[in-house]
Symmetry: none
Subunit: 228 residues, 4 copies
């Protein structure tokens, strides 16, 4: 499942950590990431984290306020990386819809290649009030701002309808991305950024209502069942 992209991601983050952080801290953060691949955060104990990291439990509390702070910091590091990459992604792209498409692709790709990140963001933090006071949440907001700005730019330059709230558009886009990825994340199935982006953009950009001059009929292929 790990692609070149994800490996690059990992190693880049690690390089930064090597400079900024003492090795103990890094080992702890890496241990949590490893464990999150297999279990839900609440089911991971500090004892397990310490053992996996080959440090003592006490050390966790040297570097992190508490267990949840560790989670938020791990999430925050990922986010900072993805924010800077999103900013790079947009460079050299013409057209707001093209930019939006690129952002959607990157977003899906990041869920696809970094399941731990996806699980933290979509399943672990939203329940807990602390999260909304964390630095990580600030990063999330900065990240979301990027799409919002692109949408606003599209409205301003006439590429996007001006009779819809940009915020609602952003929510619907994100919702679509998340719900298309969620089954893959929960049940550990492959996620195909290319296909999902294509489908999502087709719908979001043009809607589902059949056109007066209708599209040509095509065979389609669906999912088994599902829901939620």
């Amino acid at each position: 499942m790990k692609t070149v992209t994800s490996l690059r991601t990992e190693s880049t983050i690690r390089k930064k950590q090597r400079k900024l952080f003492p090795p103990g801290r890094t080992k702890i953060a890496e241990a949590l990431k490893l464990l999150l691949e297999e279990k839900e955060f609440n089911a991971i104990t500090t004892a397990e984290i310490a053992k996996t990291a080959c440090v003592t439990e006490a050390l966790i509390y040297k570097y992190f306020k508490d267990k949840r702070d560790l989670l938020h910091q791990v999430l925050g590091e990922y986010l900072e990386f993805y924010i800077s990459r999103a900013e790079m992604d947009l460079k050299g792209i013409k057209g707001s819809l093209n930019k939006l498409r690129k952002l959607m692709w990157s977003h899906i790709n990041m869920y696809s290649t970094n399941r731990v990140f996806a699980k933290i963001l979509l399943l672990e933090v939203r329940n807990y009030p602390d999260y909304f006071k964390s630095d990580a949440y600030e990063s999330v907001k900065r990240y979301s701002k990027i799409s919002l700005d692109v949408i606003q730019e599209g409205i301003d330059n006439g590429e996007i309808r001006n009779d819809l709230s940009p915020l609602s558009i952003r929510q619907i886009v994100l919702g679509g991305v998340e719900h298309l990825c969620l089954p893959g994340i929960i049940f550990n199935k492959e996620i195909s950024p290319d296909e999902l982006t294509e489908e999502l953009c087709e719908l979001i950009f043009h809607g589902i209502a059949a056109r007066k001059d209708p599209p040509k009929s095509r065979p389609k292929k669906g999912v088994e069942s599902g829901n939620n």
Copy 2:
């Protein structure tokens, strides 16, 4: 926050329970609902539930396998109610898009009027593998099936584009609904079913691209499977 609708819901469920369930069981379920209005499930203790219900903790385990089973059963009861209502909702409506709009409105309305239900479904259960083996999850699938059938019907009768996978459409629609409601649910703000439905349908039905000419037909392929 409770509207007439939600009250009717509650009392209908209660009537059924009075017949089917011993009073202790009902008191426990109601106690959990009450507590969920204020706290996250993991932060609620069995002691609190028992105290709120004016029963002993032991009784919880007479009626429910464990604490999480209680959550799932509460969720399941809500779902059964909403499923039957969704089926009623569709009666007498002409047009698949009109039906879809109605379903979206009802869905948003149910998040709006029953925050406890919304929190359980969107924030509490998805993390935990047990959920996916629960009866509640089966109900969720039945509920989702309703929208899927409407979408399929729309494709068959030409109201909905046939070049998008119905499953993907369903996921995107649900994703849109959820993400439009999520801020309201998390931060306990008002949710306006009328406005959100309007905005969502406008976007989903017609897309965000400023119109010049109709979209060209494109090949598509849907989400792999799963759900949630």
Copy 3:
């Protein structure tokens, strides 16, 4: 493992119960016996007993003072049966050593054919002070008395050495029986009454020392009391 003997045992006891005891009581006692085939007494819950017996837990307390009383009564019923059988067994046998041999065979055979009885007596009750106040314990003492009388008779008639305390002899005999059977009982292996009796009598009657000349008479003093 069940032999004709054990079946007859069971059915005889059951017939008595049918007369003496209401069906609910019998069902409960039988349920416990059934469960004891698979688990240790403390690991069996009253809920399980009730479910196995197809009665409610409350009924257990109609017929038995508490859970342990149930165990003691079950044990007591077995013991009464085995006592009367031991008395029959001795009739028509000449010679104290022959009688003793017969008792040992019956004893081993009863462990061999009734594992539940064996487990209760050897593993479940001895820990718990209540047992020593129970009727079952009185029966055990009556049962033990039978061997003691035979040993005393043997001493009196010169078949058995008179320089050993009869009580100690009884303890050593019983100890030998138990320890030969214990592995079979604990690990659920076959127990062969014929072979074990043969071996045990050979040793107990004649000793293990390779013979040169007969032992000299010695003064004795035995264990204080007790049994089991």
Copy 4:
């Protein structure tokens, strides 16, 4: 009841523990031993153990897998000590029967001077399947092996009859020891190693039958294995 021997035992064990184990662990083990003098294991709560040891209940679970593991470890420590003592005991003794007599004396003496050990071994563990997977059970087997080897040696050198299975002999000897000691252990009465050994050896070595002529040689077959 504590003799010089038992005190030496205790302090020797304690010395070892002081080196090998953190003080908390030792305090917990000692607390259990203390409590076992007065109550049955199941009647002792972790709360009591902790309180007696002046530590928190949580610490018990740092050092022991669970409550029963604590029991097994305590038993195991005793056993290791007694094994090494049994090995010493045999040194300098000539004759297999003399060695066997010495082992029996030591065995009875250890039940006599260490009632806690006796109760654990004879009354507490045999019921519970976990025991048979514990290290303590492995120690028991090593301990039993010592007598078995002596018996075998006696057979080989002609001191002991060769027509009885050595395993059966060992079982009968152990059974005799246990049953002679059991009343004393259960009812907290004195146990006299000298007298009991004398009586037991007299019987086991020479049998109970009044002598006329030596026994004839017979074929033998023993218990399957096991012990305890």
